[in-house]
């Protein structure tokens, strides 16, 4: 309860702060529209040479792209602003102030900032999913929608865990402002279904760096494609990843020595 109150207070503060920069929404919307238009253009080029990409039709690949942007939007709205702040605070030593507060450091470190204008990506991602589904004339039952949401939540949990684990490296290496690029590096492979990759890379992207669970599996569940793996694995891996990342955070935290020492 108390946790919910804290998070909602952060969210309120973020919205208050950001309403001062309303033009940002227009700017971000503009950039997202360009980004998505280019990505859809890319799909059009690819599908001008084939009707199926590893069994995926154009509309299904569009839904997958929508999922990609949806997750990207969530990352930029809710995950990266807070966690990037940790990196700069640890470097400067001001992370002390986080530790001094009577709130679990992990909670505070991961929910302090929201850049609400990045919901532009979430909105456009949702729109692309909708367009793809309409063109597929997909029958979305309540059950399918519920499973989709569950799988998406699992995917976002995986994303958060990876992002947190990368951020935690700051306690060892200090200068890691760009470390989360590693996430983007792997995440960008998720713009296309994981089936296109050669066997070893597909395994890597499914079980080691589970991008497959972030974009491919959700898109499969909602477009009615045969799932790559049992879908209950998605939330399970999400929970396991969260636990592992939280544990890693505690190990890293114990190495924090502030700035002057």
């Amino acid at each position: 309860m108390r946790i919910l109150r804290i998070v909602s207070a952060f969210l309120r503060a973020a919205i208050l702060k950001e309403t001062a920069y309303r033009a940002e929404l227009v700017g971000n919307l503009f950039r997202s529209v360009i980004g998505i238009a280019v990505a859809v253009g890319g799909l059009a080029v690819v599908f001008s040479h084939t009707s199926e990409l590893s069994g995926w039709r154009l509309e299904q690949a569009m839904v997958l792209l929508g999922v990609y942007y949806l997750v990207q939007g969530i990352v930029q709205t809710a995950l990266s602003p807070s966690l990037n702040e940790v990196v700069s605070e640890v470097r400067k030593g001001t992370f002390d102030y986080v530790l001094l507060k009577p709130v679990p450091s992990l909670l505070l470190s991961s929910t302090r900032r929201f850049v609400v204008w990045h919901v532009a990506d979430v909105m456009l991602g949702g729109a692309i999913i909708a367009i793809g589904l309409i063109r597929l004339e997909a029958q979305i039952t309540f059950g399918v929608a519920a499973v989709f949401v569950g799988v998406m939540v699992g995917g976002v949990a995986i994303v958060f865990s990876i992002w947190l684990a990368l951020t935690t490296l700051v306690f060892w290496f200090v200068r890691v402002e760009n470390i989360t690029m590693i996430f983007q590096l792997f995440f960008d492979t998720g713009r296309y279904p994981v089936e296109i990759y050669p066997f070893w890379l597909r395994q890597l992207l499914t079980f080691v760096f589970p991008v497959a669970f972030i974009t491919t599996v959700p898109a499969q569940t909602i477009t009615g494609r045969e799932p790559l793996v049992a879908i209950w694995l998605a939330p399970l891996i999400g929970v396991l990843a969260l636990l592992a990342a939280a544990r890693f955070w505690r190990i890293g935290l114990s190495r924090y020595t502030s700035a002057s020492s």
């Binding site: 290496f173 590693i182 492979t189 890379l201």
Partner: protein
């Protein structure tokens, strides 16, 4: 345009200093280089999946491998980073001390560009060699195509630097130069030979790609090296590449002169 000897000596000194500076960020630079490896691999996988055992428009899997492996090196050499290195200098007023030096601050951007690429290239090469061994490309390279490739690569790098500088200079007028830059990046992705080799683009898009400058910062050198062009296409390509280079140089000069006139640092 004549470049004075002192300017060259200054540029050399700047580059040496920047290289020393860059070496501090080995790990981050290594990550940047990896990023340049991932995107080509994604599109190699896409086209590989479509080609299977056959071909797409005459390109087999091993041809795509050769194309995208060359792409990695070319995109690295021609990467425009000025929006990150030079743009912020203007925005945050750090340009001022550089204006007091007896050489154009664009040289600072050039020195940073060269040092970034030479240091991170050292880190990229081992990864690249590993990928060549794994992906088994068929490099259809000849001595002649290699010679022409070097020329087109140098021009591509220069052109790309000038384009990147132009977009960075927009920071004189707007805080949103990144949005404009993203349009350029998007067009390069579609028309420059990234999502697909230009020869695979559908009809009219292919003509557009041939006329516009994006291909000449990226895809053209690759096509030259791998002998994908006939004599006529080669001649046209080089003509357009040089034409765009001259145009870009003139644009940078004009934009710089207009921008510097109304530059007022920060807090002025």
């Amino acid at each position: 345009m004549t470049i004075r000897r002192a300017t060259l000596a200054g540029a050399l000194a700047l580059t040496r200093a920047e290289v020393a500076d860059m070496f501090q960020y080995r790990v981050v630079l290594f990550l940047y280089s990896l990023w340049e490896v991932v995107h080509p691999i994604v599109y190699l996988a896409v086209w590989g999946a479509i080609a299977g055992e056959g071909d797409v428009g005459g390109l087999r899997l091993s041809d795509f491998a050769a194309y995208y492996l060359t792409f990695m090196l070319v995109s690295h050499v021609t990467a425009a980073i000025e929006i990150y290195t030079f743009g912020p200098m203007i925005q945050q007023g750090e340009l001022s001390p550089h204006l007091l030096r007896p050489m154009n601050p664009v040289w600072v951007a050039a020195a940073r560009n060269i040092s970034y690429k030479s240091v991170s290239m050292l880190l990229l090469i081992p990864v690249w060699i590993g990928l060549v061994i794994i992906l088994r490309p068929s490099f259809t390279v000849t001595a002649g195509s290699t010679a022409l490739f070097v020329v087109s690569l140098v021009v591509a790098a220069l052109l790309s630097f000038l384009v990147g500088t132009t977009f960075a200079l927009l920071a004189f007028w707007t805080t949103r130069s990144f949005s404009f830059w993203e349009i350029w990046i998007g067009l390069t992705f579609l028309l420059g030979g990234q999502v697909a080799p230009v020869e695979l683009l559908p009809g009219f898009v292919q003509n557009l790609a041939t006329a516009l400058p994006m291909r000449y910062t990226l895809g053209f050198p690759i096509e030259v090296l791998l002998n994908r062009l006939d004599a006529g296409e080669l001649a046209l390509g080089f003509a357009l590449q040089f034409a765009w280079l001259i145009a870009a140089a003139l644009i940078v000069r004009t934009v710089w002169r207009a921008g510097i006139r109304q530059y007022s640092a920060v807090g002025a």
